[in-house]
């Protein structure tokens, strides 16, 4: 055997060696995202410390919370000096927080069902890929929702619905001569029908009747949701009209719209609520008893329609001039070109803005607690904190209220961002 060196030739390629530990996986990620520079490292450590101190302070308080106790005193006895939340107030007063203190217990299924139906009814509006047939439910929902929540005979909302159908039919018949005639005719027909229908529903007040519940008895989070949905949906058509009025070339109509919008946007909602509560009664015919909740709905609707009008005006202004000219050149009149060409596009681009207004408005419904209405915040600041049992519970209640609002508002705003991405048709 000879000692001869054999030239080494590798026959196969080396398996790729793993990248250095500092350049891979979590370490790399941390290096790049958390400790890329001295300042960044300091920021990271500070942030971690902040998170730690918040969590270490609040977690034991939340996890050690008491969920079953009849009163704060009992809760404090159970805790025996420990610092932890007394969430028993939420279980104990759950119904009051959600439905207010006067809504009859046996009817709780009604607003719950109405809420579920609301989600089903709104879904086809929000998501364009759902079957279009679901829009029928959306159209019917206002009447079903009214019937479920306020009760009474089903004839009243039914008459309301048929009134709308009659109005639409008259409108279609007359529209050929002119849009204004059609609208006027429809309005007159609806009013006549509703007047007649009022007698019918009075006469048949026992037909398919649910127990009638006055709106004064609504409260809790339910009231926030009712105010939010009713006012936003009422303010949409008004907002569109105001926006069109503000863009119109008829000076008087334009001035009226501008003054209205700027006035409403210039004052805080709370003063408008004071007006609803304190002043509006003086402007109504003597002897009219006007429900507080109705007055509040009127004021909040005015408030939100001014904001929605501004959003829609932005949408109208964003449309290229050519769209208006195209409508004119096709020989469409104002109503037709608005209805068929301008508004569908303008509304589409203003949806995110409208959703933002809706979220803001929903949050602002808590202000009604200042004018002695028992919404969620009003329930907490009024009857619950004033009661001998729960006097002094604070964080638990407001934490719960924030959580409820956060879930709903965050959900809506995430939807709005999703929609914005869907509507973004430009390529960047």
């Amino acid at each position: 055997m000879s000692d001869q060196s054999i030239a080494f030739v590798r026959h196969e390629t080396l398996p790729p060696s793993p990248p250095p530990a500092s350049e891979t996986g979590i370490v790399k990620w941390m290096r790049e995202n958390l400790f890329s520079s001295v300042t960044n490292s300091i920021l990271t450590l500070a942030a971690l410390y902040g998170i730690y101190s918040i969590l270490s302070g609040s977690m034991p308080w939340i996890l050690g919370g008491i969920w079953q106790a009849p009163s704060l005193q009992a809760c404090r006895e159970i805790l025996a000096g420990d610092s932890a939340g007394c969430f028993a107030v939420l279980t104990e007063r759950w119904h009051q927080l959600i439905f207010g203190f006067k809504y009859p217990q046996e009817a709780y299924w009604r607003p719950t069902l109405a809420f579920v139906l609301l989600i089903v009814a709104v879904a086809p509006v929000l998501f364009a890929n759902l079957p279009r047939r679901m829009l029928i439910l959306t159209g019917l929902y206002p009447f079903i929702g009214f019937w479920l929540i306020w009760g009474g005979t089903i004839m009243a909302p039914l008459m309301g619905l048929v009134g709308f159908i009659v109005a639409y039919m008259v409108f279609q018949r007359l529209e050929r001569s002119s849009f204004a005639m059609g609208a006027l005719g429809g309005l007159v027909a609806a009013i006549i029908f509703w007047t007649l229908g009022g007698y019918v529903s009075d006469a048949m007040s026992g037909f398919l009747a649910l127990e009638q519940i006055p709106s004064r008895d609504m409260g809790g989070f339910m009231l926030n949701i009712i105010l939010g949905t009713v006012c936003v949906s009422l303010s949409l058509p008004i907002g569109i009209l105001l926006a069109l009025g503000r863009q119109s070339n008829m000076p008087i109509i334009k001035i009226i719209c501008v003054v209205f919008i700027e006035f409403i946007r210039g004052v805080p909602l709370i003063t408008l609520l004071f007006v609803a509560n304190v002043v509006l009664a003086y402007f109504l015919p003597p002897g009219t008893t006007f429900d507080l909740i109705l007055r509040v709905i009127i004021m909040i609707t005015m408030f939100s329609s001014a904001y929605i009008a501004e959003v829609i005006r932005g949408g109208l202004a964003a449309l290229p001039r050519g769209q208006y000219e195209a409508g004119d050149s096709l020989g469409l009149d104002y109503a037709q070109s608005m209805r068929l060409i301008i508004l569908p596009q303008a509304l589409k681009i203003s949806i995110p803005g409208i959703v933002n207004v809706a979220v803001g408005l929903f949050k602002d419904t808590t202000l009604v607690s200042v004018i002695s209405m028992f919404d969620l915040v009003g329930m907490i600041r009024g009857p619950i904190l004033a009661s001998t049992e729960w006097n002094g519970v604070y964080w638990e209640l407001f934490g719960f209220a924030s959580l409820l609002f956060f879930i709903i508002c965050y959900g809506i705003s995430q939807y709005s961002q999703w929609l914005e991405r869907q509507l973004a048709t430009d390529h960047r």
Binding site: L34, A47, M250, I253, G266, P268, I270, Y282, V370
Partner: protein
């Protein structure tokens, strides 16, 4: 044979009012005017009638009568014998103060959070996103109540600063001059004695001098290419003469330190707890909205700008302040104005923490005591309207001044 003739002017028919686009707008406007007129007339008549049956009248005389109640924070002279009008003025000033300080703080919070949200530090960016979402999605009224409660509980009360029975006090003042209590924040107050005006004048002159120097360095840089130092000479010009004069004049400006006397701290300057809590709550709430505007504004600036600046060798911090933010401002300013307006309007919730703004004085106690609901609320709305229109007018002027000059 038929020929086409122009319609004769006298062949005007009534149906033209509704069918002819030339006249239709007049018809509509006329109808709108009539409807408006009847609506206003109807409301007015109801008002007259209701007031008559209740035996009341509309009169602003109550504004001249003594108010009878005290207000804690008053920026102008006021006591319980002053008139309701005076109380309203105190309230107006308190509203303006909260709005002013709140807007500044909100801008700071908002710009910081908006910029940090785009930071490449993952945890900071996420933390800022959490801040923005939490504050944007919970009603401001709840935030005001919660933040007020946090201030109340987290900060010690004045009596905690007292030593009792030989025990050391539970809380201590910061550097013996600042006290953070649940009733407010106390800080030393400068006291101007005779001769202090010289120091003040010198200081003002130094400020002017500093700006002159900075201008000079800029000119030197642009005209002659000489890069003079700027940082430390500016500081020196600002402080050295004033400090010299201060000692030459025999220390004429003293500090009055807050001191615990009786129930409360006395002396020094004092920001009340309700003011601090309200301002902070409004600022941090509005800051979350501003942060979103700032973020959107920055994202609207094309990435090429950052890269170009980086290619020129500018440091990352200065890229933001010199290149990106100035351009982003055009996008940021208009929504920021409406956020400032919202903050001002939200300050009307002050009564929830016991801060006496205009809604608390004129729309609160004055209204309660005099029962003049219509008058008080009309006045209140007029005030807010004036502020809103005023702020948006000022901001529009500013907005126009920084608008892209298109040629």
């Amino acid at each position: 044979m038929t020929s086409i003739n122009d319609p004769k002017p006298e062949s005007f028919q009534l149906s033209q009012l509704i069918n002819d686009t030339r006249y239709r707008s007049y018809t509509f406007q006329f109808v709108a005017l009539i409807v408006l007129f009847f609506l206003v007339g109807y409301l007015y008549l109801n008002l007259v009638e209701n007031l008559r049956t209740a035996g009341l009248d509309i009169s602003y005389e109550f504004l001249g009568e003594p108010a009878g109640y005290d207000i804690n924070q008053r920026l102008v002279e006021y006591n319980s014998q002053s008139s309701h009008w005076r109380a309203s003025v105190v309230g107006v000033l308190n509203t303006l103060l909260v709005a002013f300080v709140g807007c500044i703080l909100a801008t700071i919070f908002g710009v910081t959070a908006g910029v940090l949200r785009l930071s490449n530090n993952w945890i900071v960016a996420k933390l800022m996103a959490v801040y923005v979402e939490i504050f944007r999605n919970v009603p401001v009224l709840i935030w005001i109540l919660i933040i007020n409660a946090i201030f109340l509980i987290a900060l010690p009360q004045p009596k905690a600063f007292k030593s009792r029975g030989g025990n050391p006090p539970e809380a201590e003042m910061l550097w013996d001059s600042f006290a953070f209590t649940g009733r407010g924040i106390y800080a030393p107050k400068p006291v101007f004695e005779t001769g202090s005006w010289v120091v003040v004048v010198v200081f003002i002159l130094s400020i002017i001098g500093m700006f002159a120097y900075r201008r000079y360095t800029k000119l030197a840089l642009y005209a002659h290419g000489r890069d003079l130092p700027r940082g430390w000479p500016s500081l020196a010009i600002l402080f050295v003469p004033a400090i010299l004069v201060y000692f030459v004049m025999g220390s004429p400006i003293g500090l009055e330190y807050p001191e615990l006397k009786g129930f409360n701290f006395k002396g020094g300057i004092w920001a009340r707890g309700s003011f601090v809590a309200l301002t902070f709550a409004l600022a941090i709430y509005t800051g979350a909205f501003i942060a979103e505007n700032v973020r959107a504004g920055i994202l609207a600036i094309s990435k090429g700008q950052t890269e170009a600046a980086a290619a020129l060798g500018i440091r990352p911090g200065r890229i933001m302040s010199l290149v990106i933010l100035p351009q982003a401002l055009r996008v940021i300013i208009p929504p920021m104005i409406s956020n400032f307006l919202n903050l001002t309007k939200n300050s009307s919730l002050a009564i929830a923490v016991g801060y006496m703004d205009i809604t608390g004085t004129l729309g609160g106690i004055t209204l309660n005591q005099t029962g003049r609901a219509i008058e008080a609320i009309l006045l209140l709305m007029a005030f807010y309207l004036a502020i809103s229109l005023g702020i948006s007018a000022i901001m529009n002027v500013y907005n126009n001044s920084i608008k892209l000059k298109e040629r």
